[in-house]
């Protein structure tokens, strides 16, 4: 049997290295796209969680403020617990490198107390701070001293004494490296982490006397539940107790939807690959039906024959998966930055640089590749095992036309069922399994329905030259091989065009939103501010300075402070609503005329304030206009009336806006995150911006047009990974097309020989073959684009609002679809050209010489 396996299954592979390589390549690409996204996702999430927890995990509880920072003095209230627990006061800030503006998270911790806790908390990374040495004092007695991660130190050769230039808030600062943090026992510290002594950090961030949290850890022998109870007794109003796991969890949930979407996308490659593999194995079985028939005739059991086919598939699957591991790991290194950037833009700091391939991941990827191969080979294997030898041996039995009408009809039915599944159920926000299932059914059904296009393309050949007619004639009565090639291409193109339309819809919506929202002439923010999670703030005196400028008519201020609402972290913003009413700067999703909503909010008094919520906020907490919300504030809970819901595509945690006077009265003065400036009419905003930029180098001052351009750039960066994944899918599909053509050529050998005998040149024969391949490509492409338009409906109208809370306007991106179609056809042409030339020169096979087929 082993001998047989070698002769029949494995040696066959060596004899046809082209086919084996192509199959391996298809498996490899699929596995690679699946693996790379998995690795990149994991790396990004791991780094995100590390940031969420903050440096030096190992705390058991976190004390945080419900409505803003904690006062320093909270630490004295925790002193009675000192016998059972250690405390670690923490302040958090943002720092951006000069030049690159690479964002760093800056943590201020009490370096003395941290060193003292060494004996009690061995898990703390900086616990070994050497005391009583000059190094120790260097970290304590320099207000700009900072400790950097080993990763940064290694990458840039930084050491104690080096300097680190950048911006904090709107001020340029040069930090001095006092030392390198010891590597954390639990894993690498994020590269972009900076640790400072607490009072120095408070001074640097301009937040004297403030803490963002206090980590509390059990001393050995102390009991968690008892400590928790005592902690709760000691906490005052507006202070809350959290478990570190809760914090990490909220970050995980937050980005879960995004990561899930990417994961699904990464399966496209694999799904398209499975189509092709089926086709490849089916072709292999067909090509060697004589061998199978002979073996059957010699008495080999059908099961053994199935085993041989599956063995071949398994070997190819393993080889292909191994190739996929290599490719996937390489792709992951590129993907991880893209994923990190997006996670960071949407949810907060994440700084994964490298994706590591762990053994379980490698095993899973191999398994997925192998199973896909075996599954794809299953039906061909059964066919090889179960067809009666006589039928197998009889010539002309191959390549019978398929019942494409029935298949297409069933496909159409599945497509409509998928649409119904996606659109009909109403699930709570965040859940979208029906939409994913629906999209899957639409893809499967749509690809089957696309088969209708094959005979249609075939009919077009009737009016052409004899070559065109010969090229397209087989499509009039398509075989299974034609069907698989077209279906696979339709799926790949469908996915790509569907995503493309979705991204375009998104872009159009955001552009329209920006057009309404961004009305001011100049926008001023700290240089490092890159998202809602940036902690950079503007100097308190800046709005006054700018307002005094004779060129300025209005300075619109925007404040943002992190708060807890219903136990989850989100943002509370303060804006001048009366000003917004005049300048009309928000798009309302609910609540009526924007100007009226703003006027209503502005008119409310301090006793009964009103607010507007972003769409994401309202979806996240299930709110409607008219609801009364209880918000935590330093002076106790404040009830606000929800007057409207506005569109906001910038921040996935959502935010709630109140009038500035309410924010200041109930939550205290907060520093501004950004300013919108209206200039005297007739002035050149660019010139004013340039003049201000010289005066305040730590500010980013953007003109209206500049800001719009930047939003667009960030937008495309965010979707860079999506485009890359689609390319992989298309690549696999085109590879499949080539494979299909090669298989079809083998089937048509007899006919081609006859043509040659009749005087057709190699070039003419190659042209005929190319025509057939391009015909298939055209059918797959047309089907795929139609499918993509349907899929985009699900993505735009169901998935995005449901998962992210973003209502988008459906917009078809004609140029993109054109480019996609052109690129696919060009790709097909480039791949088919050598294949058809090779096929046209095939030597006559025995069957043809005998006048068969």
């Amino acid at each position: 049997m082993i001998w047989l396996a070698w002769r029949v299954a494995l040696r066959a592979l060596l004899r046809e290295p082209g086919r084996a390589l192509l199959t391996c390549f298809a498996v490899g690409l699929g596995v690679a796209s699946f693996l790379s996204i998995r690795l990149a996702n994991r790396a990004a999430v791991a780094s995100f969680e590390q940031f969420t927890r903050g440096v030096g995990s190992g705390s058991d509880f976190i004390v945080a403020g419900e409505a803003g920072p904690l006062p320093d003095a909270v630490i004295t209230r925790l002193l009675p617990l000192q016998d059972e627990a250690w405390t670690r006061p923490v302040i958090e800030g943002s720092f951006n490198r000069a030049g690159t503006l690479e964002p760093f998270q800056l943590l201020g911790v009490d370096l003395v107390g941290l060193g003292a806790a060494a004996g009690e908390a061995p898990a703390e990374p900086q616990a070994q701070a050497p005391l009583q040495t000059s190094d120790f004092y260097a970290g304590l007695q320099d207000p700009l001293a900072v400790f950097i991660s080993p990763a940064l130190a290694r990458a840039e050769g930084l050491a104690a004494g080096s300097s680190l230039g950048g911006v904090v808030d709107e001020r340029p600062v040069t930090l001095r490296v006092a030392g390198v943090l010891p590597e954390a026992p639990g894993g690498a510290l994020p590269r972009t982490l900076l640790v400072m002594d607490l009072p120095a950090a408070q001074a640097l961030l301009g937040r004297p006397g403030e803490l963002d949290r206090v980590d509390v850890g059990l001393r050995s022998g102390a009991a968690g539940p008892a400590l928790e109870a005592r902690l709760r007794e000691l906490l005052g109003p507006g202070e809350l107790l959290e478990l570190p796991e809760q914090r990490a969890q909220s970050g995980r949930t937050m980005s879960a939807a995004f990561r899930f979407n990417l994961g699904v996308l990464s399966l496209i490659g694999l799904a398209v690959g499975a189509y092709l593999l089926f086709q490849a194995f089916d072709a292999a079985v067909t090509r060697r039906q004589e061998s199978w028939a002979t073996l059957r005739a010699m008495g080999l059991a059908p099961l053994a024959i199935e085993g041989l086919v599956l063995l071949e598939a398994g070997v190819l699957g393993l080889l292909g998966s191994a190739l996929g591991l290599l490719l996937g790991w390489g792709l992951a290194q590129g993907a991880v930055r893209a994923v990190s950037r997006t996670v960071q833009a949407l949810y907060g700091p994440a700084a994964a640089e490298q994706a590591h391939l762990a053994r379980p991941e490698a095993f899973l990827a191999m398994l997925v590749g192998l199973i896909t191969c075996l599954a794809a080979a299953w039906i061909p294997a059964r066919r090889a095992g179960q067809l009666p030898p006589v039928q197998l041996l009889s010539r002309g039995a191959q390549a019978r036309p398929m019942a494409w009408g029935k298949v297409a009809l069933a496909g159409l039915f599945t497509l409509f069922a998928g649409l119904a599944l996606a659109f009909l159920p109403r699930l709570p926000p965040g859940r979208a399994w029906h939409a994913y299932l629906g999209a899957f059914a639409v893809m499967a059904g749509g690809s089957a329905a696309s088969l209708v296009l094959i005979p249609l393309v075939g009919l077009m050949g009737r009016r052409g030259t004899w070559k065109l007619e010969l090229a397209l004639r087989p499509l009039q009565r398509p075989t299974g091989r034609h069907a698989w090639a077209v279906a696979a291409l339709a799926v790949a193109v469908g996915m790509a065009s569907g995503m493309g339309v979705m991204v375009h819809s998104f872009e159009r919506t955001v552009t329209a939103w920006i057009g309404t929202t961004l009305r001011a002439d100049l926008y001023v923010a700290p240089l490092g501010a890159t998202g809602a999670n940036s902690r950079h703030r503007l100097a308190p005196e800046l709005p006054g300075l700018l307002a005094a400028d004779p060129d300025v008519t209005v300075v619109d201020t925007f404040q943002l402070r992190p708060i807890r609402f219903r136990g989850q972290s989100t943002f509370l913003g303060g804006a001048d609503m009366a000003l917004h009413a005049r300048h009309g700067a928000l798009v309302m999703a609910a609540g009526g005329d924007p100007a009226q909503v703003m006027r209503d909010v502005a008119a409310r008094d301090l006793a009964s304030p009103a607010a507007i919520a972003s769409e994401t906020f309202s979806r996240r907490f299930g709110l409607q206009v008219g609801d009364l919300l209880e918000l935590p504030s330093p002076s106790g809970p404040v009830t606000v009336f929800l007057r409207g819901i506005y569109a906001d595509y910038g921040n996935e945690r959502g935010s709630l806006l109140v009038d500035r006077k309410v924010l200041e009265a109930r939550w205290g003065e907060a520093r501004f995150a950004s300013l919108a400036i209206y200039l005297r009419p007739g002035l050149d905003p660019g010139a004013v911006a340039a003049q201000w930029q010289k005066r305040w180098p730590g500010l980013q001052i953007r003109s209206n047009a500049g800001l719009r351009a930047q939003v667009s750039t960030v937008f495309h960066q965010t979707f860079a990974l999506t485009y890359a994944l689609e390319l992989v899918g298309l690549g696999v599909a085109v590879a499949g097309l080539v494979q299909a053509l090669l298989g079809l050529t083998l089937q048509r050998r007899g006919e081609l020989l006859t043509l040659r005998a009749l005087g057709a040149t190699d070039g003419e024969i190659a042209g005929i073959l190319l025509g057939e391949g391009l015909g298939l490509a055209a059918a797959g492409l047309a089907g795929g684009i139609g499918l993509g338009l349907v899929l985009a409906q699900i993505l735009v109208r169901v998935l995005n609002p449901q998962v992210f809370g973003w209502t988008l306007q459906y917009a078809v991106d004609g140029p993109f679809l054109g480019i996609l179609a052109g690129a696919s056809l060009l790709g097909a042409l480039i791949a088919l050209l050598p294949a058809s030339r090779w096929a046209s020169r095939l030597p006559a096979d025995r069957a043809a010489e005998e006048g068969g087929a």
Binding site: D72, A73, I75, T76, L79, P80, L81, Q82, D83, D110, V112, G113, G115, A116, A118, G119, Q128, P130, L131, Q132, T133, F136, Y137, L140, Q141, D142, P143, D197, L198, P199, A200, Q202, A203, P208, G209, G221
Partner: protein, 353 residues
């Protein structure tokens, strides 16, 4: 000759300050209380030191130590914030010796001045985290057991040294101001980790010392004893040890009578080992029991529990032996109680104080 005249005031100035600008303990300091019980931030180092012998209602004996150290950082323009000072670090030690159980437990705390630790500018009022000491009350915990003691001084404060200065070496800056309450009446509660409480009473000793330079260059450590004799007298002796093991001539012993008056002071006294106890952790060999001969009398100080070593597990920490002792005379008759401190045996203290 003119240049000598020029340099003279400079030399005077230098003697008043250390090279890095800290004040130096100078003869003629006029002590004012309660002000001088408080913090002296102009000096580099300062400590408030309580030790004592306690007995519970069942007659079980305990010893305790509660120490608050303040250490100024090297001078720097950046001083941190009032809540988190960078110019002042605080170290505290608390230890409890349970004689009947034969156990010794201690805890160390290190923090910066500000919210976590500090000392009032006037009067005895120091705290470090949840440990605190005032003129009439001590409160601290050691490994789950907590002590709360009411304190009453039985004598006025005793000022050691000559002209208010306790010299520690030939270098005139190696000197401190040293104030002691040699007899404190103690009464309070000892709570176990499980919450049970027993009443305790006893006799305590408090030292308060501030300086900017404690040791001479060739000194490696010291042996200190505070002896409370049953006849009401107290004796304080410190022997400064040089690198070669010899006793520095600036070592000193002082005898105080029952009313708190210094009756005799000498540099000619002897401290000698009557045996050796070797620490299983640090490997240091301590001269225990310790024999003290001064003013024509000899006392042998025997540890109530052999292992009363405070071993630092923190890098840069100081390991020393500080413990409760019984005092016998040469004939073996018990004459009193003492606390003994032995430093520089596990590692040299050169350059540390």
């Amino acid at each position: 000759m003119r240049w000598v005249m020029l340099l003279a005031p400079l030399a005077l100035l230098q003697a008043d300050r250390t090279p890095d600008g800290f004040r130096v303990a100078r003869p003629g300091h006029v002590f004012r209380f309660p002000e001088d019980h408080g913090n002296h931030p102009g000096f580099r180092t300062e400590w408030w030191y309580w030790t004592g012998h306690l007995q519970d209602e069942a007659g079980r004996a305990y010893g305790f130590q509660l120490t608050f150290f303040r250490q100024a950082s090297p001078p720097s323009p950046w001083k941190g914030s009032a809540a988190w000072r960078s110019d002042e670090l605080h170290l505290a030690h608390a230890a409890l010796t349970d004689v009947a159980a034969g156990t010794f437990q201690f805890e160390e705390r290190l923090d910066r001045g500000g919210l976590m630790a500090g000392a009032a500018p006037s009067g005895i009022q120091v705290f470090h985290g949840s440990w605190s000491a005032g003129a009439d009350r001590l409160r601290f915990q050691v490994r789950g057991r907590s002590l709360e003691l009411d304190v009453k001084a039985l004598t006025p404060p005793v000022i050691f040294g000559e002209e208010g200065v306790s010299r520690k070496g030939s270098d005139p800056t190696a000197a401190s101001h040293y104030v002691t309450y040699p007899k404190l009446q103690l009464a309070g509660q000892l709570r176990s980790a499980k919450g049970g409480a027993t009443l305790v009473t006893g006799l305590g000793w408090m030292d308060h010392e501030w300086s900017s330079n404690q040791l001479d260059k060739d000194q490696v450590g010291w042996d200190w004893a505070g002896i409370q004799l049953h006849d009401g007298r107290s004796l304080m002796a410190y022997r400064l040890r040089k690198g070669d093991g010899s006793q520095d001539p600036w070592s000193s012993a002082t005898l105080v009578d029952a009313r708190g008056q210094v009756t005799a002071r000498t540099r000619a006294f002897r401290m000698a080992p009557k045996g050796t106890w070797r620490s299983p952790r640090s490997g240091a060999a301590y001269p225990l029991p310790l024999e003290v001969s001064a003013f024509g009398e000899t006392w042998i100080l025997e540890p109530l529990v052999p292992d009363q070593e405070l071993s630092a597990d923190r890098p840069g920490g100081i390991t020393y032996w500080e413990g409760a002792c019984r005092v016998r005379d040469a004939a073996g008759v018990e004459r009193g109680r003492a606390y003994v401190e032995l430093t520089g045996y596990a590692h040299s203290l050169k350059g540390r104080f």
